[in-house]
């Protein structure tokens, strides 16, 4: 629907009017001249109006931003190597890891634990954090080919996947793009299993299997789970001789579109060169840096994700709509502190589709929020000082889900960037 909503239907009008002309010759003339020629002229005129409308609206461009980052989860045995949407965050996760008995014993003798493998907790993030804080000991057994001995285990935080997300923050800077919070509910639900004691094991016995009794959590803790995202490492090489820049110290490295197949988005992942700028021109990437010779470039290739669910797990990402209002607000750059605008902002995210904003209020004092910051690694950037007011947001979930609070945490963190003067806190009602 265009903005010209009450368009006059000339073709229909001509057809009706023609029948009112009694003289057949006149009617024929009317159909030929007005019906054919003038209707075409009129349609051409309206096409021009619509073109003008499109050009005016297109003037308000969407600001350049990070491509959408999507995350998923799958069981190791389920992963399809030919998948072109999701890739393991750590390719090594797809291999069964060998457990080195000698290393474990050395660490245990030194009074330290040893990290065995990550596990996925299919429950609320808060509950997992409580479990990690309590340092709960789990019993289990370690098996060799000949024997089986008792051991104790502990769950400790697993931060390596979240560190990978954190690393993207530097990537955005290098690509001269503003940071966007990332929705990764699964990554907050990973814990590392550490072995804390092992009685009567001999060095030379290779460990075949580790079995844990997760007690009351047995039905919610899964081993061999692999977190996925739509990012894959990619290599490219400068396509032609680098061109010197006006400053006489930098060079422009052009990467032809043929190296960066369409359909995906690309980010420069990191480089030893002093990169001054990254820009795109007609599908080609141009890197301005201090290197005179053609270089190999480490890139990230971000795949588009269409699936809502994959490998039995829902897909989560930070994608948002492309509304005109969104672009307009960004273009004018004014802050709009109204409920309507907050609702529009939150609703623009695809992950909001299963949630409703029930209420919101400003409060002077507030307790510990139910939500966490999904950008904890840059909290110092926008959670500086103390704030007088907390903006409390009440969400209603259409259905119960252990990932709802993680989604709300992402939404409140995104809003926090928008309203640095308030502490934004969300909760489920």
């Amino acid at each position: 629907m265009g903005i010209f909503t009450d368009e006059f239907d000339l073709a229909g009008y001509v057809e009706r009017q023609a029948m009112e002309i009694k003289g057949l010759e006149n009617r024929d003339l009317f159909r030929n001249i007005i019906g054919d020629m003038f209707t075409q002229l009129y349609q051409h005129m309206y096409a021009e109006y619509h073109g003008l409308e499109q050009r005016m609206l297109a003037e308000v461009k969407a600001p350049a931003e990070m491509p959408d980052i999507m995350t998923g989860l799958c069981s190791r045995k389920d992963y399809d190597q030919t998948d072109r949407e999701f890739f393991p965050m750590d390719a090594a996760d797809l291999q069964q890891k060998e457990i080195p008995a000698a290393d474990i014993l050395r660490h245990l003798q030194a009074g330290e634990g040893y990290a065995l493998f990550p596990v996925f907790f299919a429950g609320e993030t808060n509950e997992l954090e409580k479990l990690l804080r309590e340092k709960r000991q789990f019993s289990g057994t370690v098996k060799s080919a000949y024997s089986e001995v008792a051991a104790t285990f502990e769950l400790r935080p697993c931060l390596r996947y979240r560190k990978q997300v954190e690393a993207l923050y530097d990537v955005t800077g290098q690509n001269a793009l503003p940071w966007r919070s990332v929705l990764t509910p699964y990554l907050y639900k990973f814990a590392e299993v550490w072995i804390t004691s092992l009685e009567g094991w001999e060095d030379d016995m290779p460990i075949e299997r580790v079995m844990l009794d997760y007690a009351e959590f047995a039905d919610r803790i899964y081993e061999d789970m692999v977190p996925l995202w739509n990012i894959r490492p990619w290599q490219a090489h400068t396509s032609c001789y680098p061109e010197p820049c006006m400053d006489r110290t930098s060079y422009e490295h052009r990467l032809y579109a043929s190296q960066l197949p369409a359909g995906c988005k690309y980010l420069l992942a990191g480089s030893a060169a002093e990169v001054r700028n990254v820009r795109w021109q007609g599908g080609e990437m141009i890197i301005t840096c201090d290197r005179q010779e053609a270089e190999d470039w480490e890139m990230l290739r971000l795949y588009p994700v269409k699936s809502q669910e994959k490998y039995g797990y829902r897909v989560y990402g930070n994608q948002h709509d492309e509304s005109f209002a969104r672009n307009l607000v960004a273009a004018f750059g004014q802050r709009i502190k109204t409920r309507g605008e907050i609702e529009r902002f939150l609703r623009s995210f695809a992950c909001m589709q299963d949630l409703e904003l029930a209420d919101m209020r400003l409060r002077k004092t507030a307790g510990q929020p139910a939500t966490y910051s999904t950008d904890a690694f840059i909290d110092y950037e926008f959670r500086t000082g103390s704030r007088a007011y907390t903006l409390e947001l009440d969400f209603r979930a259409k259905q119960e889900d252990y990932r709802n609070l993680d989604v709300i945490s992402f939404l409140t963190t995104s809003l926090q960037h928008y309203f640095p003067e308030y502490t934004c806190a969300g909760r489920l009602v």
Partner: protein, 234 residues
Amino acid sequence: MNFIWDAALRAAEQGLKKEAMHYTPAEKGSPYYELAFDYLNRRGIGEDAVPVNALYRFSAIFQYLLHPDVRYLLEKDKEEFIQKAFDCIMHILCEIDLHHGITRQECYVRKLRQELLDGVFGKEAAAVVRDLDREGQLAVAEELLHTMKCGSSLQGFSHAFRRLFPKGILYQSRLTPNELYAYLDEPKLQAREAEWQLFCRLFLPLDFSVRVFWQVHFGIIGLDGTMKDKIALF
């Protein structure tokens, strides 16, 4: 009423569709007016075709077709065609007239109206806006654009208030400037209540609170007019 767009706007106000309007070349038009009604001060559009002196603005287009020699001698047998062709061309010219004021502002307002209706600002907002008439919808969108341009403020809120609740009075507390009192001077109907809620949602800055009085004003000490008959107490 003078121009053809004048007549078209008046017809739209009367609820007439564009298709229901017809134009005819004026038999005795004044050289000073485009519309050639019998009465200069005519205010409404009737069922009859609107007589137009097309030579007033469009003589370059019509000087051949409407020339008496052509109409009554040369092409005498094509009178029916000339009448209908004139009507259709007038409709096209009127459409051009009605697009005369396309500006970025208008374009943005219309697009925002469309997004309001599409639910970009929430389903509840879309439902309320859908129940407004076209002018009301455009007014909300225009005020919304104003908020986007200038940021949310009490100034913007009261501007939108005057526009959307023209009979109302907005008071600001001297003691706590973030408290507002709105007297709307109209009955509390369900539809209007929903509009008030939408209005607050779209325009009231977060750190303000507003207390609404529908038909009964509250008493203000020192203002005699407010201290008689029924008064609201709080």
